[in-house]
Symmetry: C2
Subunit: 441 residues, 2 copies
């Protein structure tokens, strides 16, 4: 006999885990679509050379890679950005620009399994390709806001910055060639504080105290968005790149505010840099105010040239990725997930097998009114059927024995309080349906 086990770093999703996951994916799809983003899908397997070297050495090392039946060198996708680049390079002419897509799909990374890190997980990305318009940056912020709200959070902070501001300031202070190490140090501000950031910057870049001070002025900027912009503006003077970034940041802040998103949910944070090298303009991170330690639950930014490894066509774009696993963990910790192991709210008990058709008709009549309804498959003792209903998390049990069926009525037990109500057994069960819909909300 074979031991029924899963691979290390992989996991099964039981209904209690999968029901809220599916709900999150459905909300994402519905928000993406409300802005006109379109779904696409790409293969899990690609030619290895299409994937290699695009996500850095670490990604290459972690990629599941093998030789297929036709001796081809193939790899499993480790993100959805590299396949997107390959996709737009291949289909650019058919797609038309601007092209707005979302992609919710599984990716694989053979990394060391550790708490909360898996070798298989779902990414949930959206991107707008083929335009440099600030309208897309603004829209990306609005989508993030709508996503987090639709999932059920009101207290969250979308933090934004612009890499042009950062890169302009580095340029202005002759630190351009050290941008990677300087920004990496800056990114640690909230974790290690300004003094340590200063030390690290000087040690890694060899910059003078005066140079570093100019950059660290960013960390002293405080206040609401308009105050932050006011303090940032003079720092950006006399450098074209910084000025351009500043103007974009101001346009973004003004438009987001005009559409009614307050500073509570959307904040300029001039010290965030985001690790990835390929961001070139607006960047976003999103934190849950009640659980900031979980990290950013939606991050992204603007890039200049998505598909340069596959095509000469320049494809600028902006996008972000919703962190499904982090969000689910947060919702679990904050008690936002109703524990349930059923997709139906109503269970029709089966008193005796002879009346099965009646039970099936009752269930069909409720389904026709939009109420998910299950019929217990065996005419077991009622006690066992109630135990099943409790364990699964049903809300109501329909009870109709021979007597009730004959006299044209049925009872419903509301499991939360054990109360019982009687209804006429009509063809379409409108009374019962109305009562249930009201109670189920």
């Amino acid at each position: 006999m074979i031991v029924p086990r899963t691979l290390k770093g992989f996991r099964d999703y039981l209904p209690e885990a999968m029901i809220p996951r599916e709900r999150l994916m459905e909300i994402s799809r519905s928000v993406y679509r409300s802005y006109g983003f379109c779904p696409i899908d790409t293969p899990a397997l690609e030619h290895a050379d299409v994937l290699c070297g695009k996500g850095g050495d670490e990604a290459d090392k972690q990629m599941f890679r093998f030789e297929d039946h036709g001796k081809r060198d193939v790899g499993m996708r480790f993100d959805l950005t590299v396949p997107l680049a390959r996709f737009v390079a291949k289909h650019g002419n058919d797609l038309g620009m601007p092209f707005k897509r979302y992609h919710i799909a599984t990716v694989w990374r053979g990394e060391k399994p550790q708490a909360g890190r898996y070798r298989e997980f779902v990414q949930c990305d959206f991107d707008t390709i083929g335009t440099t318009s600030i309208a897309s940056d603004i829209e990306t912020a609005l989508v993030i806001n709508d996503l987090i709200r639709a999932i059920g959070f009101e207290k969250f902070s979308i933090r934004t910055n612009n890499r042009k501001v950062l890169n302009g300031l580095l340029e202005k202070n002759d630190l351009k060639e050290h941008s990677v190490v300087v920004l990496r140090a800056l990114d640690k501000l909230s974790k290690i504080g300004a003094d340590k950031v200063r030390e690290e910057m000087m040690a890694t870049s060899g910059a003078s105290s005066a140079q570093v001070d100019e950059i660290l002025k960013l960390t002293e900027i405080k206040g609401n968005n308009q105050e932050v912009l006011k303090q940032l503006e003079p720092l950006c003077a006399k450098n074209d790149l910084a000025r351009e970034g500043f103007d974009q940041l101001r346009q973004l802040v003004d438009a987001v505010s005009a559409v009614g998103i307050t500073d509570d949910n959307f904040q300029v944070d001039v010290s965030i840099a985001r690790g990835l090298d390929y961001y070139t303009g607006t960047i976003f991170e999103t934190f849950l105010d009640d659980l900031p330690s979980i990290g950013s639950v939606c991050s992204g930014g603007r890039y200049d040239n998505l598909a340069q490894l596959y095509t000469k066509q320049e494809l600028p774009g902006i996008g972000a990725s919703l962190g499904l696993d982090r969000l689910l963990t947060a919702m679990q910790e904050l008690g936002m997930i109703e524990p349930t192991r059923t997709t139906a709210d109503v269970l029709v008990a089966q008193f005796d097998a002879d009346s099965l058709s009646e039970y099936l008709k009752i269930a069909a009549a409720l389904r026709a009114q939009g109420i998910a309804t299950e019929v217990f498959p065996d005419a077991k003792k009622l006690k066992a059927q109630f135990k099943y209903a409790d364990r699964r998390g049903f809300r109501a049990v329909v009870l109709a024995g021979k007597d009730e069926l004959t006299s044209g009525r049925l009872n419903v037990k509301w499991l939360e309080d054990g109360s019982q109500s009687e209804f006429p057994l009509s063809e379409d069960l409108e009374d019962l349906g109305q009562w249930l819909r009201q109670r189920l909300g």
Copy 2:
């Protein structure tokens, strides 16, 4: 530069293909849930020994199999049934029985690519585990009916039979040991006709003409469901297994008819056997009346012991699988798919970048009324924006230049007929929203 190509036998889904696919998957989920089936997911990769030998030699040969970073022998799942068996064996105690699950996920088979056959495809399965009750057989038929109807078909035939009837008749006629070849021949009836089936049966099983005649009596049974049952009953006499199968078939037919599904959509077909060895009772196939040549679009059946390779616990069940690719091909051929490359119906044109906030507010007000709305990201010439709207398949374009915005009004162009209507530019855009919702249906 790397050529942006996909692997042989794999495919990208562009929006025009993915939008109807997602719709089909959503319909399936919603029908499954309305009966209380719950979603699960399992890893794409499993220990090779968990997958090997479960789908037959052919499946083993086609499996994508390799050594992972930890020198483990791993394989990519080639169906969702083997992972389900492993899953219930592993989690049986946590799941509780009966257990009703659906699983919509990608599987991989390294088979020879040919027209309409891919190495990567999505399966869409539902199963009820842990009960032998005929109620589950009936429910499976009802789910298939609801699925095909919800997708948009009215003319379809769910065909059913019971392997116990077939196996009982074989037993009765001393052909039990030749059941595989006899049933394989019988399965070809609709393709090659009764004479050839007869020839093949005699050649492969060595049966006598008299023995084969007894089996072929099945092929002479004709009429509506009640007539078929009437003709079948005497054939099943004097064999317990056949009799048991017959009784189940009758219960199934009576209940399905009681719930209002007519013989037009549900038919006993005593000659279908379905290839797979592991079916042991009720079996189903589903054909589209307008396109029977495409084959069964939803098939399944009852099995006695799902997980015998992984656990001593006996787990009977019944399930079926919806053929997404076949259904999409059929819908395409029958003109049931509106060609569209947008998920939004309304495009807000951008006249000038200064008024962007106004356009964003218009879009937000429409979204708040449930109307998916996109804002064109650049203030390009209107001609280019209309071209984009046409190409993508938008239904309406909102037009609001500086003059209109100043005087508090906007225009909507309905693309189908080019007509234009004016609306007041109120905060919540209720008038416009109501008009659009009515037109969009």
